[in-house]
């Protein structure tokens, strides 16, 4: 009699346990550095969040426009205290605040984007956007007639500099005479400023405009002048259908799902997750009709090489703006070197400040 009761109880408990783990409620929090609707960086992250929202008992929430520093620490702390299971912080400046909170809440998993510090319960992640940039550079280099490409850039931080360099390398791979001129706007999302910056590049003769900005301002400028443009973050062709050739885009959804599943199943490990095109985290948007077949094929082939891992954009010989060899032939840049990139490759005209 007792044995039967125990068996029944065990069975019930086991069923409960199974039910709990299968649809285990997970609260996942996101911290954004800018407003979500900016069709840019935070927007792309938010698309990823929406991808996992509702699946398998996952509820998500976010706080936007959080200043880096103590505000960020408080927001992350707030989420930890409210019992969130997994928190993603999407800007470099959140690194130290997140680390402080992670040390206080060892049972919660923290993931920091674009940084380098880790803890047993904190990892970092990013995407190899430079792979997509390289491909867009190839497109731009093929389509330019004036051999001047314009790049509207936000802030002189490594990821932006890396993107510019990859873009330039891609352009010069198909067109060794192409130059890339860079203008800094010191803003992530300000269409008026970014459009003015794009126009200034157009006035120097650029006929393809690329950007590391979150607004479609530069796209508009390019369309108005009747030249081409490359988008960023999301497909921006709706804003400049006659100009937009392709865009370097983020696709965070699958990655967020992978992390959420890992945490739920208890198999998450701390570390640096720097995924690339092979994991679909970055990509280029469909190419516009203006791009000729020849270019498409070439780019598709290079994309396949990137996915297979047989091609590395930042491999020797690489010279900087001054002509000095930074990476000798036969060597590739390490992840650490890439993460801290603060010099321009040959072919870029502009200052790194």
């Amino acid at each position: 009699m007792v044995k039967r009761t125990i068996m029944v109880m065990a069975a019930v408990l086991w069923c409960c346990g199974a039910a709990l783990s299968a649809g285990k409620e997970m609260k996942v929090g996101f911290v954004y550095v800018s407003p979500v609707g900016d069709a840019g960086y935070s927007y792309a992250h938010d698309m990823g969040r929406k991808f996992i929202e509702g699946q398998d008992g996952v509820t998500t929430a976010f706080v936007e426009a959080v200043a880096e520093g103590p505000d960020a620490e408080r927001v992350i702390l707030n989420m930890a205290r409210k019992g969130y299971d997994l928190v993603f912080a999407t800007s470099y400046g959140y690194m130290d605040p997140m680390l402080k909170v992670a040390q206080k809440f060892p049972d919660i998993v923290f993931m920091h984007c674009s940084g380098f510090k880790t803890a047993p319960n904190m990892g970092n992640y990013f995407g190899r956007m430079y792979q997509a940039r390289y491909l867009t550079g190839m497109v731009a280099g093929s389509m330019t007639r004036s051999n001047t490409l314009g790049y509207v850039a936000a802030f002189p931080i490594p990821e932006v500099i890396r993107g510019i360099n990859a873009f330039t390398l891609g352009a010069r791979a198909v067109n060794p005479n192409a130059d890339v001129r860079v203008v800094w706007t010191k803003t992530w999302y300000d269409p008026a400023t970014e459009k003015e910056a794009a126009k200034s590049l157009l006035d120097t003769g650029a006929d393809v405009i690329a950007q590391h900005q979150d607004s479609p301002g530069p796209q508009e400028a390019a369309q108005e002048r009747g030249v081409y443009s490359i988008g960023y973050n999301t497909d921006m062709s709706a804003f400049a259908p006659k100009a937009h050739l392709t865009a370097a885009v983020w696709n965070w959804g699958p990655f967020y799902k992978e992390m959420t599943d890992a945490v739920r199943n208890g198999i998450w490990k701390s570390g640096a997750y720097w995924y690339g095109m092979d994991k679909d985290i970055v990509d280029i948007s469909p190419m516009a009709d203006m791009v000729p077949e020849k270019v498409r094929t070439r780019v598709a082939a290079k994309k396949a090489e990137l996915i297979a891992g047989t091609f590395e954009p930042f491999s020797g010989e690489l010279r900087d703006q001054g002509g000095t060899v930074r990476i000798p032939a036969g060597k590739s840049m390490t992840d650490a070197e890439l993460l801290g990139m603060d010099w321009f490759v040959e072919g870029v005209i502009g200052s790194t400040q």
Binding site: P35, V36, G37, D38, A39, G40, Y43, G150, P156, R181, V182, V183, W184, K186, Y189, D190, P191, A192, T193, K195, E196, A197, K199, S200, L201, D203, T204, G205, S215, P216, G217, E220, E224, A238, F239, I349, G350, S351, Q353
Partner: protein, 307 residues
């Protein structure tokens, strides 16, 4: 590309970049001539930008958007009028409050729409005039709102100089007590100054989201409202000089990007300071030459009801 090749596009950019500043400066001139200081221009421009953007987006008509942008500017300025004229509040602080409120309100209401586009004004070259070498490119290859802005300064000048109402408005700004004694309704004229000025400032903001770009974002005006307030002093409260000031500033903003594009190694942070540093220089120069007392004599002074 030689410097000369870049000069004409730079001047054309100066005109377009200066147009929103021009609208705002003219609006503030109108308000200040009536004796009211409205420091909330920045907030008013942002609300105008949002309202214009949304109207155009929902109705498909940029022209209607422009009008609504102006009206919302007038509406927001109406709050300032209520506090300063109705309740004799401190005009400086009220203007600041308006900036904070306008900025916040525009952000709050507009956040869902960041990243979306709306129908706007595209450049329309003026037939014939746009073919004139240099001058044609600089003045006649812009969007229709720029052409509208060409008409306002002379109209405003005529209004202040030659019309009964214009002279009365000036009187209210210069000698409110005498004007009241002469039977003029000081409050009503001040209200007119605030509302019409607010309309123009809101229109300037709408220009940013309907013509300069076809987008909206928080902080779209980037300090242009404040530059407009400074330019009013530079212009000695005269609509004609406002044009010079506005285009000069548009030019500075456009210039620092072009300088970057030439590949200079001057750090961009320093270049970005240029418009603001120049505003100070221009203000100092204008005030120092002693004609700072061309200001309407009772500018910023509350005239409470019953006094």
């Amino acid at each position: 590309m030689t410097w000369w090749d870049m000069l004409v596009p730079l001047l054309a950019a100066a005109v377009q970049s200066g147009t929103p500043i021009l609208f705002a400066t003219l609006g503030e001139i109108f308000t200040e001539r009536a004796g009211v200081l409205n420091l909330g221009v920045e907030g008013v421009m942002l609300m105008g930008a949002l309202a214009g953007f949304l109207t155009s987006k929902w109705t498909g008509s940029p022209a209607l958007g422009f009008a609504v942008g102006g009206l919302s500017g007038a509406g927001l300025s109406g709050l300032h009028g209520l506090v300063c004229i109705g309740f004799s509040g401190n005009q400086v602080v009220s203007g600041l409050a308006l900036t904070i409120l306008g900025t916040g309100l525009a952000d709050y209401l507009g956040t869902p729409f960041i990243g979306q586009g709306a129908p706007g004004f595209d450049p329309v070259p003026v037939p014939g005039l746009s073919e004139i070498p240099a001058v044609g490119s600089i003045f006649f290859r812009h969007d229709p709102l720029v052409y509208v802005s060409y008409a306002i300064p002379p109209l405003m000048w005529l209004f202040f100089r030659n019309t009964r109402w214009g002279l009365r408005l000036r009187a209210v700004g210069e000698y409110p007590h005498a004007a009241a004694a002469a039977g003029l309704n000081v409050s009503a004229f001040r209200w007119a100054g605030v509302l019409v000025g607010g309309f123009l400032c809101g229109a300037g903001g709408a220009y940013l989201s309907l013509a300069y770009t076809h987008l909206w974002t928080s902080g779209l005006s980037a300090g242009r409202g404040w530059i407009a307030v400074a330019l009013v002093i530079f212009a000695f409260w005269h609509p004609g000089r406002a044009v010079v000031g506005a285009y000069f500033f548009g030019g500075v903003m456009a210039f620092q990007f072009r300088l970057q594009a030439t590949g200079t190694h001057i750090p961009s942070s320093l270049l970005l300071m240029l418009p603001y540093a120049l505003t100070i220089l221009v203000l100092v120069f204008s005030s120092w030459r002693g004609r700072g007392d061309q200001a309407p004599a009772f500018l910023g002074v509350s005239v409470p009801p019953g006094e």
